[in-house]
Symmetry: C2
Subunit: 72 residues, 2 copies
Amino acid sequence: MKDKSKILIKFGERVREIRIERGLSQEQLAHLADVHRTYIGMIERAEKNITLINIEKIAKSLNIEIAKLFND
Amino acid sequence: MKDKSKILIKFGERVREIRIERGLSQEQLAHLADVHRTYIGMIERAEKNITLINIEKIAKSLNIEIAKLFND
């Protein structure tokens, strides 16, 4: 994707923030969420348009409700 | 997708509920969200793993925050 979408940027920043709060590395979160090792970095950098199924996997792995990933 | 994911089913039901509250047809919502005419039906039937960019388009068209699409 050439232009990074604002919503993907916001989501990626939120994932990074909570991942760090939880004391997890990108690789650790990827393992918990059962996604590719490099995937969390791509999401945090807004390089991928994440799907709902993967949003749920990440939310579960961060032990947070999906809605809370979208609250400011 | 063979097995419909619970999260996609829940999301689709929520979209349908709010779309009907707003008095919109699937085609009208598709037009507002700038997605294909048949796309809203597929989402409501949990036949597609929606991406975050399209979640945002639908939320905006329903005039609701993304977080509220995921609240029970």
